[in-house]
């Protein structure tokens, strides 16, 4: 069996989870700790990807990053192709999953006693140091839970990836797209095998991560 979709999906989900952490953690911290104009709007915008149907969201994204969209044209000017490449699959998976990470991390950060952060500040720690040495270590369970949810959602994304990255075999065809393709072609044995394999690999990864988290913390 062709294992390309599985390798692609794993790489895409890992990259998307990392991107989601990089963008989502600062967002979650802002939402949990700061009051600023437009905060409610930002909070609503974060969960918007969960509300819109994935193919519709994918279509909007495509009009932004496609060859004729503003972002697509700007990237094209510096020689970067985004739409219909594996990078587009990473973007799609990140958009699909960021809300899950942000909401979990935001709840985690909000539950950290602000007096502990204050104590760190009185000891001369900068905001940056307070985050890394107090807030994040106390909220890690929530962050990890959010990251796991984000990884799974990224792995399973279908609609957004289908529109922005396409279902090109050997290039952007991730596991969900490959399974759908096999079902459409009435090759149910291959579809079932791929489904089982994907579920098995991801379950193993999550069990391993769970063990690791309990051992190390």
């Amino acid at each position: 069996m062709d294992l390309f979709p599985l390798r692609l999906s794993l790489a895409v989900s890992v990259a998307a989870t990392a991107l989601t952490l990089a963008v989502g953690l600062p967002l979650a911290w802002l939402l949990a700790r700061r009051r600023f104009p437009g905060r409610d709007l930002l909070e609503a915008a974060v969960v918007l990807p969960l509300v819109l149907p994935p193919t519709v969201l994918g279509y909007y994204l495509l009009t932004l990053v496609g060859a004729r969209g503003p972002i697509g044209r700007a990237l094209g000017a510096v020689g970067i192709d985004l739409a219909f490449t594996p990078k587009a699959a990473v973007l799609a998976a990140s958009v699909a999953s960021i809300a899950l990470l942000v909401k979990a991390a935001q709840a985690g950060f909000a539950s950290v006693d602000t007096r502990l952060e204050q104590a760190a500040r009185t000891l001369g720690r900068s905001e940056w140091q307070v985050f890394w040495s107090v807030t994040l270590p106390l909220a890690w369970r929530s962050v990890l839970a959010g990251a796991v949810l984000a990884f799974c959602r990224a792995f399973g994304d279908f609609g957004i990836t289908l529109m922005v990255a396409g279902s090109i075999p050997g290039v952007t065809q991730t596991v969900p797209l490959a399974i759908y393709d096999r079902v459409q072609a009435n090759r149910m044995d291959e579809a079932n095998a791929l489904s089982l394999l994907a579920v098995g690999v991801v379950a193993l990864l999550l069990v391993g991560l769970g063990r690791l988290a309990r051992l190390r913390f």
Binding site: L8, V14, A67, V171
Partner: protein, 263 residues
Amino acid sequence: MHRRTLIGLLVAVGLPVAGVALPRAPAGAAPAPTLTVFGASDLAFAFEAIVPRFERATGARVTLVLGSTGNLAKQIENGAPADAFFAANVGFVDALAASSAVRPESRTLYARGRIVLATTRRSGLRLSSLTDLRRPEVKRIAIANPEHAPYGQAAREALETAGLWDEVRPRLVYGENIRHTLQYLQSGAVEAAIVALSIADVPGIDSVPIDASLHRPIDQAAAVTTRSRQPDLALAFIRFVTGPEGRPIMERYGFALPPSGGS
């Protein structure tokens, strides 16, 4: 200590990103030219037979991307790396030609679709014509969405011409595309379905043709995209499908041929 382990965990997630190079799109330097063909999903079976023959004849490689004609058209409009596009409806190709996404001179009618009335052998239900849809045992009927799916449009026209539309309408279920419509029938969710002849020849399904004069012709067109770097090869593939090698295969899979012929 917590801090260190947590950062370690984040790095453990982040590092593979730096390390695992995402698979790259095949570069232009590949030894055999690779043609990317976008096609409507009703072509699945026919193209499975045609593509290997084309590859043998030309030495080129073909990557087939099947999907809903509407989605594929939107993707081509937004710069998808397709060389040729086989739409389930000529309208999509004409719209793309108008926006210069495909080359108008390459526009080719490659098939005329036919619709059939299908039932599952398992159900024991035998329908011989559209009027049989009146029978009370037929509780639900699947057709493709007549708003945007060409075969759904034809199904609706046929039901209207036969004077059955208003009567059967409350029992209709819309599939997203023609394969999806067939899946409603295969799964037993509906007793009857109107689907494309090209996908109805599967085990467990019985079908009777629906008179083509009951609906406007389902003309299907293909074209070479404007951004294709190998327009000659793409056009060669379209001519292959409508030519002496492709025609009999297309006919075998239920695609009637447009009267004007291939190229």
